[in-house]
């Protein structure tokens, strides 16, 4: 390392000033100019985060939102060289610090996570599609799932309700976010606890529904039979329409 201690210190002081806005003694600067660096750096971070979390900004109001950005930028040490991934670090930072609890916005973690996941699912690297055919039978063929999806568990139903209502509805909720084939647009679907189980289990087992429906009946506490068949066909038929199921696997 050829850098002198003094040069390192000067460079770090400028960085520190940009992140915190706290004035630093910097030698050899033109008066009134250094502030522009703080402003420019702050704008990049604040615009990136506000664009990623529009619902959170609206739910908190500009002032509280800005405090969260300030906290994060001063103490959060952004690690990613790719600024579009910064919203994830922002979410992790506030989840780890339990900011939502502290500012009495208990929905905060869930809302940040949900908004981030929309970005994540839109941008995540491509996952290979299984081979499938368009025609088949929902009960007797193996289903070809769209692999480009993620399920998130939420404590408050921020994906289905305005935050004022969601805050009063603590529980166990699931949102399934997925990428549409072709356009790559992200859609989501609210899933019940039981449907989340059925969805994940069937995908894991990779067998025709018919072979595993007995297990689903036990878990749901209902009789195996016509009623169950209809319910499963309806659920998976809907997923097929939504392109969460691409088609059928045929040997």
């Amino acid at each position: 390392m050829s850098l002198r201690e003094e040069t390192i210190q000067i460079q770090e002081l400028l960085g520190e000033y940009c992140r915190t806005g706290e004035e630093q003694e910097l030698p050899g600067v033109t008066p009134g100019r250094i502030q522009h660096y703080r402003r420019l750096v702050w704008n990049v971070v604040s615009d990136t985060l506000a664009t990623a979390f529009p619902i959170t900004v609206a739910a908190l109001g500009e002032d509280s939102w800005e405090l969260l950005v300030d906290d994060f930028f001063a103490a959060g040490l952004p690690q990613t060289p790719q600024v579009w991934k910064l919203p994830f670090e922002f979410y992790r930072f506030h989840a780890d610090r339990e900011t939502g609890k502290r500012i009495r916005k208990r929905f905060l973690d869930d809302l940040l996570l949900f908004e981030w996941m929309e970005i994540e699912v839109h941008t995540m690297t491509d996952r290979p599609y299984p081979e499938f055919v368009a025609e088949g039978d929902l009960l007797h063929d193996r289903l070809a799932f769209n692999p480009e999806h993620e399920i998130v568990q939420l404590e408050y139903p921020v994906h289905t309700h305005p935050v004022s209502q969601a805050t009063e509805m603590k529980g166990e909720y699931y949102a399934l976010l997925y990428r549409l084939p072709g356009s790559g647009n992200v859609q989501f679907l609210a899933l019940s606890v039981l449907n989340t189980y059925i969805f994940t289990r069937l995908q894991e087992a990779d067998v025709p529904l018919n072979e595993i429906k007995g297990e689903f009946a036990r878990v749901a506490g209902i009789e195996s039979g016509r009623y169950l068949d209809d319910a499963l066909k309806k659920f998976f038929g809907d997923l097929l329409d939504r392109k969460l199921i691409l088609g059928f696997k045929r040997e």
């Binding site: 002198r4 460079q11 520190e16 992140r19 050899g28 033109t30 100019r33 660096y37 060289p81 690297t125």
Partner: protein, 274 residues
Amino acid sequence: MVGLGLRRDIAEEILESRTLTPDFLEFAPENWMGMGGAWKRVMEQAVEKYPITCHGLSLSLGSPEELDWEFIRELKDFLDENQVKIFSEHLSYTKSRNAHLYDLLPIPFRSDAADHVVERIRKVQDYLERPLAIENVSYYTPVAAEMSEIEFVNQIVERADCRMLLDVNNVYVNAFNHQYDAKEFISQLPLHRVEYIHMAGHEQVEPDLIIDTHGQPIIDPVYELFDWTIGQMDPVPVLLERDYNFEDTDQIQSELVQIKGIMKKHWKVEHESA
């Protein structure tokens, strides 16, 4: 050749060549690396349709801390995959005390800092197996300088034996902000090292301060400086940087045309070198 920076807002426009018809495109790898889905499709189409140069944002060549080798490995994969021959980065730093700042901070013009940057450019060039084109950045204040900007830049590019990305607008902005002569500055640069040129618009925010925004049309004095500059040089590609305000694509296209007109005046036979 006249290129244009590929930004999400104008990606569709460019791919369908509606109004904008650049000869090549420039990507910031950070904005596209590791992406799948719709944006990956856009990138693939762009790579298929146009020659590509890449302009990095986060290497932070001037930082005191270690280079981020994991990032550099990913970067190399990206450049290889997309067959990018020209890769450029800024003579600045963007990371400090283990925190990314996502903007270009001025390195103190000092000999120890120059030594440090030279070592790092060499290491990165070796690893990437392609020459780095180092860009002169705009800055709003010097910090603890012990030499002039031109000495600093020249020491680095000569000793690192790298290429240069000459940003003509940045020279104009710096000459205005720090009250020196832009042509004199350019005439002291090793112009034979210039791999390509950047042109851009800026915004004057105070009577004595211009901010390099890439959001406005190029002003006439910058075209004039460009005209004068390329009169001293062999043909190289020129890229228009535009980062926002994309509503008026006709206006952006007219900038591409104007740049090309000036190039044709000096470089009779167009060398398609990018």
